[in-house]
Symmetry: C2
Subunit: 647 residues, 2 copies
């Protein structure tokens, strides 16, 4: 059952699409205070698990930390960080198999704090500054039931084209055709499957959206076609900020039409991002979304079939005001008016980008009313991606276009996927990648994946291989890294054959992965589930944070520590251990319930098939299109049935 | 067997105290190149484990990363960091139970790089800029044998007073007597054992070494005595830099005697640290060590019996030259001579502190010859602590004084312990704490421990409890945190009884811990060993990175993940699971070999006793002195023998 409560004057985020009448009174659950902003308090029992929050830090069970929904461009997301790139205000409280499960969705697009047993181990407190929001209270018989009910009211999840289930190679720094040709050639010559090469900001002219550097790409459409002849799609990035440059059409038109976010005095807000000073389109306005969405046409016309929307928290290196303040501070120091204490510079450098003050400096216009950005901050990236998605539906209604975003809010799952932002080449981020999968699924996001190998800092061959072995299972499987870090294409390492094998396993599994994706999308279900969802009575399974169920058939348990030969795995019941060995052998070993150590070499992918289940596999190929469905066969229990969807 | 090889003109670090003749020729193992600096290359087999590096990042098995010996004040030591606070150039290569084990000690006090399978999975490369060093090659029948041989040549490990095995409460920010009295009173009233309260920099007058703020502590000796009446020792901090302040005796005398490090032009080098601008004593000179060591007398005379030496990498917030460069950069920006690009401020703020340029700006004098600091950087903290230790031997020869340091080099293990630097309130740092224990033991450091609960950022009650449950076993057991973070004394949380219980378990185990410490010190052995050292034939045990052996009797397996009810543990053989329950019950459960899940509640300490072993325990008490050895009894196999040392 779903009840909707309204407090104050909620902002219509359009996260929920189902019409639900507003209940009167207060929810039967928790204590609500609207005297000083809004707060919702609920006592937690020791056995309660609190799921949710989508793309958020730390565990599958979110207890024990403070989370702040505030889309943030913070690439160094260590354990202590409160905010990541997305804002997904959904919680699910599972009190055990014999109790009712509870879902909570706080539909509020400003900053919101979730103290989940942080201040007090046995208390949940959700609060925000103004008591203007919708609260959805969902009750049901199980965790899965709550998710299903929630997913039904937030609308169907985005479905990408099938090629997007292939492998993609990316790096911030690919700039010239030769960079892309090298990637393509190395993969094809070494028979490493590849479907996509991503174009980071360097393909553009001076980082201007919807431009291509014509010196490097004099005939971009031909280059797109050249790659497509090899069954490789180029996937360009699009940033939120529009460069301030007289003569640049997007800038000129946006300015003339008044489509950019303005300050209190009515002038356009200026923020420095990659192109230098930019304006931010007011994506909250339908007419701006339509205008910005139409800009993608130039790239679609060149043959492009997929995009990633970036910098749309929006990230701000500094604002015009921030720079002015900084210059004044420098002048005061030089004049001796301000003393230069030990950490002054470091403090300044941390407060300059993405500052709360900047987010209070500009406004949106919604229904002809001005609203300050910080009050709707978490909708910005969502609305940018909606702009693109709605344009694709207009411009190429018969085609699925690949689209995923960095920032997001619940509701954006209808328009695209996400990648899990600028992670690091840390083993801990491999595990974090796994933990986010079910949490994001709960919130509707199905086309998801992390930068495999890690975006920031230097990867290692073994970290990348192990991460790819998890990436084999994630809908978005992309190797991406930052300029200035160790290059991490497979050919930068000693053992190309290991990469070939692991990525080939992905292609063998595509019929299964694609089918499970479509089922999750069509049935408002989760593709990845915590073990607790399927084994609620098993108290060890309930707490497992490093294994997941994939569909109804598979359990994954990736290796996420360095120098390991394998890992301990907990089996709630007897399962079939499956390994595709590099020599082509398929190992299927029944393994008993309980904890056991499984050997997984660096060049192996291991997973489990549950009792009485089977999954489809095909022969590997070098791109999705080349998969030969005539080679499809099943592994697992031959007596089992499996519904294969492929559309 | 130990062979010593000499290259170029090695600096005499005095890390090794045993006289070993220099062998001619080159080591039989590895490839050495001295044409461009020094490099040592060795092929690694897939099964080789590389131990060592003492206080270093990442695994017990160091393979797969790049480590740089360069004592560094970097509190945010994420997985990618190359340098921590210590520099311990010892490696141990274990090729399995049937092969000879190999030890390598590179006695070189400048920056040294260890590429342990990072660039290439199967290659070790150790290199430094100048080929002036001693290389010790140790061969032996086992990993333990190599460690024993190495420990014998580097001399006996420091032994602290027995009270140092008690629990200590610390926080940067305790400033006034009331702060200390509150800590004492809360512990005593709640019957939480406590032996030490640490005094961070705020006890001093303007952060000047060997001063006490006399406004707050008009009669410091009386205050020390007041605490001692409650069986609580105050343990003050001492920093490396001496404040530049005319009239301040330590500064005046050091300056008059020429004891501070000088620049190339002969003037004293100036570095900003906590007190503002300071000079660095030239601890490499015996007469400076004697002089600085004598300064501790004023605190010893006030009744102090223990110290911690900090900031002795040495940490530099900025140098006079660094500040001047920065001001020029600001002036150039303001004048429009330098453009202000996106990350300029952040880059500047990162390069200002602890800069390599600053470490090249000052000199030491050794045997009347000037040597630039960067060439001997890693000896600085070691020599500061040596200064203190040698002074204690002169000033109070019949008494053991507690001494531990932040920076260190091998050799310093004879003079004091270390704490593992400014860690963070991260679960990953709890595990890192565990992993450093055996690595540090290999290098002679026995009195060791991390800031329990985490120094930087905000802890949680459960993280602190779990971390304390590991700290129960580490010789240094201290709860320490940074100013500005969440307060983490036990009384800041809801469940005082949980803290009481866990810390009381520590006191029950002190006879065992102290005895094992003394054995390790006297026998040049390790107190904490990887499982591989005792079960070399067990291929799962060989790779375990989250369990350790403590002495010959105990295996520890702390819980290091949030929201867990327990953890899987690998038992190489049947053992006895021991739990002291909060209600006073002692649970002893035989558990079979293999992987199994053990329940460990947040308020419990669990560990294992090996087959045929027993350990001594006593009744808990509120301080070490109050432990009643008449209550001593043994748990484990009653037929076993145990040699108890207590001196």
């Amino acid at each position: 059952m779903i009840q909707k409560y309204s407090f104050g004057t909620p902002f219509e985020t359009e996260a929920v699409v189902a019409p639900i009448p507003v209940s009167s009174g207060l929810p039967a659950l928790g204590q609500i205070d609207t005297d000083h902003g809004f707060s919702f308090r609920l006592a937690l029992s020791p056995q309660d698990i609190v799921y949710g929050l989508g793309e958020a830090n730390r565990g599958i069970d979110k207890r024990g930390h403070l989370y702040i929904s505030c889309c943030a461009d913070d690439p160094i997301h260590t354990e202590d960080k409160h905010s990541l790139y997305g804002a997904h205000n959904f919680l699910l409280i599972d009190s055990g198999p014999d109790a009712e499960a509870v879902g909570l969705f706080f539909d509020y697009p400003g900053e919101m704090t979730f103290d989940i047993g942080y201040s007090h181990r046995e208390q949940l407190c959700v609060c925000c500054k103004t008591a203007d929001l919708y609260l959805y209270l969902i009750t049901g018989k199980s965790a899965s039931d709550i998710v299903h009910q929630f997913r039904q009211i937030i609308g169907p999840s985005y479905i990408p084209p099938k090629f997007a289930f292939g492998y993609g190679q990316s790096r911030w720094g690919y700039a010239a055709p030769e960079d892309f040709r090298t990637v393509a050639q190395q993969h094809r010559e070494n028979h490493i499957p590849l479907d996509m090469i991503y174009m980071d900001i360097d393909y553009m002219e001076d980082f201007k959206d919807f431009t291509v550097n014509t010196k490097r790409f004099p005939d971009f459409a031909s280059f797109v076609e050249e790659m497509k002849q090899q069954n490789i799609r180029l996937i360009p990035i699009v940033d939120a900020g529009v460069k301030i440059e007289p003569g640049y059409a997007v800038y000129e038109e946006g300015l003339a039409k008044g489509y950019f976010c303005k300050k209190e005095d009515g002038s356009e807000f200026e923020a420095c991002v990659w192109p230098g000073m930019t304006h931010f389109p007011d994506f909250l306005r339908p007419e701006v979304r339509e205008w910005f969405g139409n800009q993608y046409k130039c790239l679609l016309d060149a043959g492009i079939e997929g995009f990633w929307n970036d910098m749309n928290e929006p990230a701000i290196f500094f604002s015009a005001e921030g720079e002015a303040d900084l210059r004044q501070w420098m002048a005061d120091i030089l004049a001796g008016k301000t003393s230069f204490h030990s950490f002054a510079l470091s403090d300044r450098s941390k407060s300059l980008p993405n500052s709360p003050e900047d987010y209070q400096r500009f406004y949106h216009v919604v229904d002809s009313k001005r609203i300050r950005h910080d009050r709707v901050h978490n909708l910005y990236g969502c609305c940018m991606t909606r702009a693109a998605s709605e344009a694709f539906a207009r411009l190429c209604p018969d085609k699925r276009i690949l689209m995923f975003s960095r920032a997001s809010y619940i509701g954006m799952h209808r328009y695209g996927g996400i990648w899990m932002g600028d992670n690091m080449s840390w083993w801990s981020h491999l595990l974090l990648n796994l933990k986010m999968l079910p949490s994001l699924n709960m919130c509707g996001f199905l086309y998801i994946g992390a930068d495999l190998g890690g975006f920031g800092c230097d990867t290692t061959e073994d970290l990348l291989l192990r991460w790819l072995a998890l990436g084999v299972f994630t809908p978005l499987m992309r190797n991406h890294s930052a300029a200035g870090t160790r290059e991490q294409e497979f050919y930068q390492f000693d053992h190309a054959e290991d990469f070939r094998h692991i990525i080939s396993v992905r292609y063998r599994l595509i019929p299964y992965l694609y089918s499970e994706y479509l089922k999750a999308a069509k049935n408002d279900a989760m593709m990845f589930r915590p073990l607790a969802f399927a084994y609620p009575q098993d108290r060890i399974a309930r707490k497992i944070e490093d294994q997941l169920l994939l569909g109804d058939e598979v359990m994954i348990a990736p290796v996420y520590t360095q120098n390991a030969d394998g890992r301990p795995v907990y089996l709630p019941e007897e399962m079939l251990l499956v390994k595709f060995l590099p020599d082509g052998t398929l190992l299927q070993t029944p393994v008993p319930a309980g904890y056991l150590f499984i050997d997984v070499a660096l060049n192996e992918v291991a997973f489990f098939i549950r009792r009485g289940r089977k999954i489809p596999v095909v022969d590997a190929a070098e791109c999705v299109e080349a998969l030969d469905m005539r080679t499809l066969c099943y592994i697992g229990d031959p007596k089992a049935t499996y519904e294969l969807i492929d559309e």
